[in-house]
C-alpha cells in the first residue's frame, strides 16, 4: 500500500515534508478543537491548545521515533492534548473555572469521558481518511456510484441513469469499493491494532 498511514505520515514529518505537516494539521486540529470545547475552552483557547501540542510535537520531532509496539501515537496525542488543556485551564482558575470542575479534570473522572469522545473522533477521522483514500484509488464514476448507491442508498435505477451506467456496473462498483475500503481500513489499523475499527 502506498497511501499515508499513521506511521508513514509521522516519518515524512520527521523528514521535514511540508505537505505531511499540512495533512497532520488538517487531520488533528478538529480533534484538538473538539477536545478543548468539551472542556469549556473558548475558540481562541482551542487554537492555543492545538498550537501548544504542535509546538511540543515539533520540539520532539528530532528525537521522536514512532514505534507502535511501544505506544500508540493516539495515546501520545491524547496525553499531549490533556496536558496542554490542563495548563490552559489552570491559567484561568480561579476566575473562570470552578474549583470542583478543575479537580474533576485533574482526578481523571471527567477525562475518562472526554477520552472516550476523543477516541470516537479518532475513529471518525480515520473513516474520513479511508474514504478520501478510496476516492484516489478508483475512477470518479466508480466512486460516485459507490457513494450514491452504497453510502446514500439511492435506488440503483436512479444512480445508473444519472451516471449513465448499467445497473450491473453500479453493483460491481459498490462491491469493489467495499472490498477496497475494508482493505484501506485494515491498513490504517495495522499501526494501531488495539483500536477496533
Amino acid at each position: 500500500m502506498s497511501f499515508t498511514t499513521r506511521e508513514s505520515l509521522l516519518n515524512k514529518i520527521q523528514d521535514g515534508d511540508q505537505a505531511s505537516w499540512e495533512e497532520f494539521y488538517l487531520l488533528y486540529r478538529p480533534m484538538a478543537f473538539r477536545h478543548g470545547r468539551r472542556l469549556g475552552l473558548s475558540r481562541e483557547e482551542c487554537d492555543e491548545l492545538f498550537q501548544q501540542v504542535m509546538v511540543q510535537f515539533f520540539k520532539s520531532i528530532g528525537t521522536f521515533h514512532y514505534q507502535p509496539e511501544l505506544g500508540r501515537f493516539r495515546n501520545y496525542l491524547i496525553r499531549a492534548l490533556r496536558h496542554a488543556a490542563s495548563r490552559l485551564l489552570e491559567h484561568r482558575q480561579p476566575v473562570e473555572m470552578l474549583p470542583e470542575t478543575l479537580s474533576a479534570v485533574n482526578e481523571g473522572g471527567l477525562l475518562n469521558e472526554i477520552d472516550r469522545k476523543i477516541l470516537a473522533d479518532w475513529r471518525g477521522a480515520l473513516f474520513n481518511q479511508a474514504l478520501a483514500e478510496l476516492k484516489k484509488q478508483v475512477e470518479q464514476q466508480t466512486f460516485e456510484a459507490f457513494c450514491f448507491y452504497g453510502l446514500q442508498r439511492r435506488e440503483v435505477g436512479e444512480v445508473a441513469d444519472y451516471l449513465q451506467m448499467k445497473p450491473g456496473s453500479v453493483y460491481t462498483a459498490k462491491s469493489r469499493c467495499v472490498a477496497m475500503l475494508r482493505n484501506i481500513i485494515g491498513e490504517l489499523q495495522k499501526s494501531d491494532p488495539e483500536f477496533k475499527l
Binding site: L26, G124, F127, L151, P167
Partner: protein, 84 residues
C-alpha cells in the same frame, strides 16, 4: 441450474434491508439451496452492515465537528432536482 446473479442478490438484499431475516429472504432466492449463492448473499449482508456502520459513524463524526467537517471528497453533484 444457474447461480443467482449479482443483481438478484442485491435486489434480495434491498428488499430485506431494515428488517432482515436470512431464512425468510433466502427462501426468495430461486437457488436457496445453493451453498455458493447463500455464501455470496451472506457476504453481501455483511458488507451492507459494514457500510451502514461506516456511514453512521462518519455522519456522527462530521456532525460533531460542525464547521470543521471535512468532506472526504464525495461527489458534489447530487441526484435530485438536477437529476438528469
Amino acid at each position: 441450474m444457474r447461480h443467482c446473479t449479482e443483481e438478484e442478490l442485491e435486489k434480495c438484499l434491498n428488499r430485506s434491508r431494515g428488517r432482515f431475516c436470512p431464512t425468510v429472504f433466502l427462501r426468495r432466492l430461486h437457488l436457496r439451496n445453493c451453498p455458493e449463492c447463500r455464501s455470496r448473499f451472506r457476504h453481501l449482508v455483511e458488507d451492507d452492515r459494514f457500510l451502514a456502520d461506516f456511514v453512521r459513524e462518519l455522519d456522527e463524526y462530521r456532525r460533531r465537528l460542525g464547521e470543521f467537517s471535512d468532506s472526504a471528497g464525495e461527489p458534489e453533484r447530487k441526484p435530485g432536482r438536477d437529476w438528469k
